[in-house]
């Protein structure tokens, strides 16, 4: 029941957006000022907030642990060797019953390791299942190809979504949209549609940033962190407040509002975005 009402109001919004004449065609100078603010500036959304817009800092967390530097690896090997050197000798007769299968497996594993080289330390006998274990590489094909639309790239780093809105000439930005009517900042349609959180029955406000989720598609599983924004940026006469969200699975299905999108690390954002804009948003980006 509530889903139907959600979609009906959503459809009404879309209809209203299409019906309203696009601003760049009508008012020249006014549109030039308002166009950098939001895609909604091109299509006048009824009840749109005049001074506040909402954006999303959509983040894919690191998938793998960070690589160790050469010093860290050497130090780890140094400490392990020292620990082995100063450890008490391992008495297998104490831990394994004489003649048992476990003792035979243990001794066989030590002999196999000793055959590899003179300076070997104790090894655990490996199960057959562990020997057959396969692992995926940390550097993927997307890394080699430099595919910025792929979420398999830069697995040890965080990736942030940046888009190029179709309307206006503002270049690459974090996704943003208008705040309409009685909406609050933290409710995004993407989060509520994909997560398990049911909509409270007495809530009459619509989800905020419906246009935002509409722009990026709802084929993503996202989660908005809390109710407070994590940063802001001034954008013409509007101030965009960014909500932090995580993406767990899915992909971007760009609609007509998004011309292009990319998933970039913090350093790549610094080179891709306008320097003045990057200076405003760099505070809320994670280092890793």
């Amino acid at each position: 029941m509530f889903a139907r009402r959600l979609f009906s109001t959503h459809a009404a919004l879309r209809a209203a957006a299409k019906a309203a004449p696009s601003a760049p065609k009508e008012a020249g100078s006014k549109a030039a000022k308002a166009a950098p603010a939001a895609p909604a500036a091109a299509k006048a959304v009824p009840g749109e907030h005049k001074t506040v817009a909402v954006g999303v800092l959509l983040k894919r967390n690191p998938v793998v642990l960070p690589e160790l530097s050469e010093f860290q690896q050497a130090y780890r090997a140094y400490r392990e060797a020292m620990e082995r050197d100063e450890a008490r000798p391992f008495d297998s007769t104490f831990y394994f019953k004489k003649g048992s299968v476990a003792e035979q497996r243990w001794l066989a594993a030590q002999e196999a390791a000793a055959a590899l080289g003179p300076d070997q330390h104790l090894v655990q006998p490996k199960e057959e299942e562990l020997l057959k274990l396969r692992t995926a590489p940390r550097i993927t094909a997307a890394d080699a190809a430099g595919d910025v639309k792929s979420l398999d790239r830069a697995l040890a780093r965080s990736l942030y979504l940046v888009v190029q809105h179709a309307a206006g000439t503002q270049g690459w930005r974090l996704p943003q949209g208008p705040v309409v009517g009685e909406q609050l900042l933290h409710e995004t349609r993407g989060a509520n549609a994909c997560m398990y959180a049911p909509r409270p029955p007495n809530r009459t406000v619509q989800a905020a940033s419906e246009r935002l989720a509409e722009a990026c598609g709802s084929a993503m599983e996202t989660w908005v962190v809390g109710k407070a924004p994590v940063g802001h940026a001034k954008d013409g006469n509007k101030t965009v407040f960014y909500m932090k969200a995580h993406i767990f699975s899915g992909k971007i299905v760009p609609s007509g509002e998004i011309k292009d999108h990319a998933w970039l690390t913090k350093e790549e954002l610094a080179s891709k975005l306008d320097p003045a804009y990057y200076a405003q948003i760099s505070g809320m980006l994670s280092d890793l």
């Binding site: 907030h49 506040v52 998938v63 793998v64 642990l65 530097s69 050469e70 010093f71 860290q72 130090y75 140094y78 060797a81 020292m82 082995r84 050197d85 100063e86 450890a87 008490r88 000798p89 391992f90 008495d91 297998s92 104490f94 001794l107 030590q110 003179p118 330390h121 104790l122 396969r134 692992t135 995926a136 590489p137 940390r138 697995l155 609050l184 900042l185 933290h186 997560m195 959180a197 409270p200 809530r203 599983e221 809390g226 109710k227 407070a228 924004p229 994590v230 940063g231 802001h232 407040f241 960014y242 995580h246 767990f248 699975s249 899915g250 992909k251 505070g283 809320m284 994670s286 280092d287």
Partner: protein, 201 residues
């Protein structure tokens, strides 16, 4: 300089790490794990005790001969006289050094290259850890200040939206899919079609 800015080792540090490691002290091949001179005391105890206890089931405390298993357990737990795994024939240099170090003064009083090298390595590691911790703290501070300035701006611009940021969400569910980073990525890669976790019937 011990470590360059990129975390790579300098030539001097490479020499230090290889020279002071146990590999340098034990140039002769290490004993295989199956040959344990430390077990000799226990073995002697067991060999001595076995013939005497072969017939008796109950041991009286007046005999003075202990259960060989107790002897074995004590040797495993407390036997310090045995050689270590890595140092074969030289008599336990690490143990000897450990006692000597405790008798030396804590303040560096003269040239002792092995000790200096070890201390330099540990100092470099402590410095690296401190730098990492400082970076983390600086990142946290930066993100907190960005959030605070956004909240201050929002309070000026729109009180209703500002009030909306206070408190917890009405329905707060921690996301199950929030994944911890691992050594290697999942075999299937990123779940673009959102069908990796669906039970296959």
């Amino acid at each position: 300089m011990f470590v360059t800015t990129t975390g790579a080792l300098t030539a001097a540090s490479r020499r230090a790490l290889s020279a002071t490691g146990p590999a340098a002290r034990a140039r002769t091949p290490a004993l295989a794990a199956t040959q344990l001179p430390a077990a000799s005391a226990a073995a002697r105890g067991m060999a001595r005790a076995a013939p005497a206890n072969s017939g008796t089931k109950k041991k009286s405390s007046k005999d003075g001969i202990q259960d060989p298993r107790l002897q074995h357990i004590k040797s495993v737990l407390y036997d310090n006289a045995g050689a270590t795994q890595g140092a074969p024939l030289v008599q336990a240099p690490s143990q000897r050094e450990a006692t000597e170090v405790s008798r030396k003064s804590a303040v560096y009083t003269g040239p002792d290259s092995a000790r200096m090298q070890r201390e330099t390595i540990e100092r470099a590691w402590c410095l690296l850890k401190k730098q990492e911790a400082d970076e983390i703290t600086a990142g946290l501070r930066r993100r907190f200040l960005a959030m605070r300035s956004a909240m201050q701006e929002l309070e000026q611009l729109d009180p209703r939206l500002f009030e909306g940021t206070q408190g917890r969400k009405e329905v707060e569910l921690f996301p199950k899919r929030l994944r911890v980073p691992t050594e290697t990525p999942p075999m299937l890669g990123w779940d673009y079609e959102r069908n990796h976790n669906v039970a296959q019937n």
